[in-house]
């Protein structure tokens, strides 16, 4: 028997009313996170990756958002849970770290005081005990001389140390799930490597599950066990990390992979950008949301809305694409060999596509 997922998101929709119309930020996504595993959610700005995670913590509640679907955490539905019970979970069983550690820490309070507050918000312990815990945690996340640094202010910390302090704060109450929203985007590359290594070590030692949200395919390749690719509020592809990079199925995933230069690739490789720009979430394209930017789109793709379905050969790999599986396989084979989308199309001969 396979273990129960720690978090299960089912058909989650999040909509925000605005002056210009309803923003469909998250549009029916389903995913799960197993205990002790890492899920990477990849997408560009406006793909809904952050909103879906904020909703998990109930942080979109106040903005007049319309939320439907279910977010099951250890059997409780977080969508309908009353605020005070959600509060007991937030920062306790589920913790979150944000992109910009400077704006997530209070500038006028000592780092230690903020950690102590986080401990005492959920546990009835003395200040001294909470402070001891804070010092322990700063040491755990690799801040040198934690007994002294605990009394410093955030501005006295470097960018990497602030993010370590944020992670310490998230770990205060031994969360079962850590949501990390672009945790390394504001950091330099050597510091990014330190933080990613730290997250991996903490996961090994503490056994927590991680959801890491990022636009960087390199980062998810480093740390994620499973990956979900989001586009315009939907998951368009999800699979194990190995499968996603070895045999990607969705044309958007192909586009992402072909538009980044790789450090270990041939130096003169041509980058193939995805044409056009991400769509508006108010007036979304009809049919497959990606069809206006998809080089392989066929006329009926503007009408039919693809569902996220498992691949015939691999039930853990899901894709929402209207192209036939065999055709996708041949297209990716051409692209992986260095063909441009036009060349791949000419070679494979998709019927009905523009020549």
């Amino acid at each position: 028997m396979s273990p129960e997922p720690l978090l299960r998101v089912e058909d989650l929709h999040v909509q925000f009313p605005s002056e210009d119309g309803v923003v469909h930020a998250v549009d029916g996504i389903t995913y799960q996170v197993m205990p002790g595993r890492t899920l990477g959610i990849v997408g560009e700005s406006g793909s809904g990756k952050t909103v879906s995670s904020l909703t998990t913590l109930g942080l979109t509640r106040r903005e007049g958002a319309r939320v439907s679907g279910r977010i099951l955490f250890e059997g409780q539905d977080l969508v309908t849970l009353p605020e005070e019970r959600l509060r007991a979970i937030r920062g306790n069983d589920i913790a979150m770290i944000f992109q910009d550690p400077l704006s997530a820490l209070h500038p006028l309070y000592r780092v230690g005081a903020q950690l102590v507050q986080a401990v005492r918000a959920h546990r009835d312990v003395s200040k001294a005990a909470a402070r001891a815990r804070a010092i322990d945690l700063l040491g755990l996340v690799g801040i040198p001389d934690p007994a002294r640094r605990v009394d410093e202010y955030p501005h006295e910390f470097s960018g990497g140390m602030r993010q370590r302090a944020m992670i310490a704060m998230a770990l205060v109450n031994d969360p079962k799930l850590l949501i990390a929203d672009e945790p390394t985007t504001a950091l330099d590359v050597t510091v990014q490597a330190q933080i990613l290594a730290l997250m991996e070590r903490l996961q090994r030692e503490l056994g927590m599950a991680i959801v890491i949200i990022t636009h960087d395919l390199g980062v998810v390749a480093e740390v994620a066990d499973d990956i979900a690719v989001m586009y315009a509020g939907r998951i368009v592809e999800t699979s194990s990390a190995e499968q996603l990079f070895a045999a990607p199925e969705h044309p958007y995933t192909w586009g992402l992979l072909k538009s980044i230069p790789r450090l270990d690739g041939p130096r003169e490789e041509e980058l193939v950008p995805i044409p056009g720009t991400p769509p508006s979430l108010i007036n979304r394209p009809s049919g497959c949301h990606f069809h206006p930017r998809c080089p392989y789109a066929q006329p009926d793709h503007a009408r039919i809305d693809p569902r996220l379905e498992p691949l015939p050969g691999d039930p853990s790999h899901h894709v929402a694409c209207l192209l036939e599986a065999e055709m996708r396989e041949r297209l990716w084979a051409e692209l992986a060999a260095g063909a441009t989308p036009e060349q791949a199309l000419a070679e494979v001969g998709v019927p009905g596509a523009p020549a």
Partner: protein
């Protein structure tokens, strides 16, 4: 003499002062601390390094947006370090800059047409209105914008398109030198490639000399002929792309390259030890080699003597007493190593 730009012992120290009325200088942030660099006509030079290494300050010094504390900047054979007034204005015609943030570098109250025409207005070129408009529309087409959008405002464009507007403005006067400071780091992944391809295409077509500043080492490898790696205000390694990425000799270059995440989970198992510690303060840089406080190979000599930037026999110049060997590069997990 084919070098278009020569930097000699270039220094920029920002004073740290105390007191409100009688300000006393109590120290200096050594943002750029002695850079020698020559840039050849038509090449793309990458300037890489982490926050605070002085790469953007170097760009601003070249553009004369900041005044150098010492050293000289020679553009096309002419010392421009201390030019003023009309001479400076004339020199600035020869060099242009593309900025990181396409949202804050375009005036929201001006139309695209007048933004791109601004260089002509400043330098009193193309006084004829129709002629100016034709030239602006030609530029818009060159960078892949629809010339009919001449009268639109910046907010009507996406990030990638705005960056194209910035590029069109920068190439308006056919500058000899184009400096792009993190031109794609504010853009979405799928849009980055559009702007990178545009810059590469323009560079080839117009024979531009490009200084490309970025922190993303994969992007720099893709774009540049030569690369200079900076650390705390100094160049620590300089060389042709293939040599520098294939066999980095400075331990800092090696650590930077090893830290780059590669989009391939099958490589994950390989041992990588991230560089420890943080970048020291440029107000109080370490003695000797500035990297010695974080360097895994540091010895007593490194804290005493600042190593010169010299040929290490594998194609690059490196400022290191104990340069990396091939085995060490492989052990570090540098994925671009040959």
């Amino acid at each position: 003499m084919s070098s278009i730009l020569r930097l000699r012992a270039l220094v920029k120290h920002f004073p740290i002062t105390r007191g409100i009325i009688f300000q006393r200088t109590i120290g200096a942030v050594k943002a750029v601390d002695g850079i020698d660099l020559e840039i050849e006509r038509g090449e793309t030079l990458g300037l890489v390094g982490e926050t605070g290494c002085g790469k953007s300050t170097t760009a601003r010094l070249i553009m004369r947006l900041l005044d150098a504390s010492a050293g000289e900047i020679v553009l096309a054979g002419r010392d421009i370090t201390r030019l003023k007034g009309a001479d400076l204005k004339a020199a600035r015609r020869e060099m242009q800059m593309v900025f990181q943030d396409p949202h804050s570098s375009l005036n929201p109250r001006k139309t695209i047409g007048s933004i791109i025409a601004e260089p002509f207005a400043i330098h009193k070129l193309l006084p004829d209105r129709d002629e100016r408009k034709r030239e602006v529309q030609r530029l818009m087409e060159t960078v892949g914008l629809n010339p009919e959008h001449y009268n639109r405002y910046p907010h009507e464009f996406s990030g990638g398109q705005r960056q194209r507007i910035g590029v069109a403005r920068a190439i308006a006067l056919s500058p000899k030198l184009l400096i792009a400071d993190e031109p794609v780091s504010a853009l979405d992944v799928s849009i980055q490639a559009q702007v990178l391809n545009l810059l590469r295409d323009l560079q080839r077509r117009l024979g531009l000399t490009l200084v490309f500043i970025a922190h993303d080492l994969s992007v720099v490898r893709h774009m540049c002929d030569r690369v200079a790696v900076m650390y705390l205000g100094k160049i620590v390694e300089l060389g042709p792309n293939e040599a520098l990425y294939g066999f980095p000799r400075h331990p800092y270059t090696g650590a930077l390259l090893a830290a780059v995440p590669v989009a391939d989970p099958t490589l994950r198992g390989s041992e990588r030890r991230p560089l420890g510690g943080d970048v020291p303060s440029p107000a109080n840089p370490p003695s000797g080699c500035r990297f010695h406080t974080r360097c895994p190979k540091a010895q007593a000599l490194c804290a005493e003597q600042d190593p010169p930037l010299e040929d290490k026999g594998s194609g690059t110049l490196a400022a290191c007493h104990f340069p990396l060997s091939r085995e060490e590069v492989t052990q570090m997990g540098v994925r671009s190593a040959r």
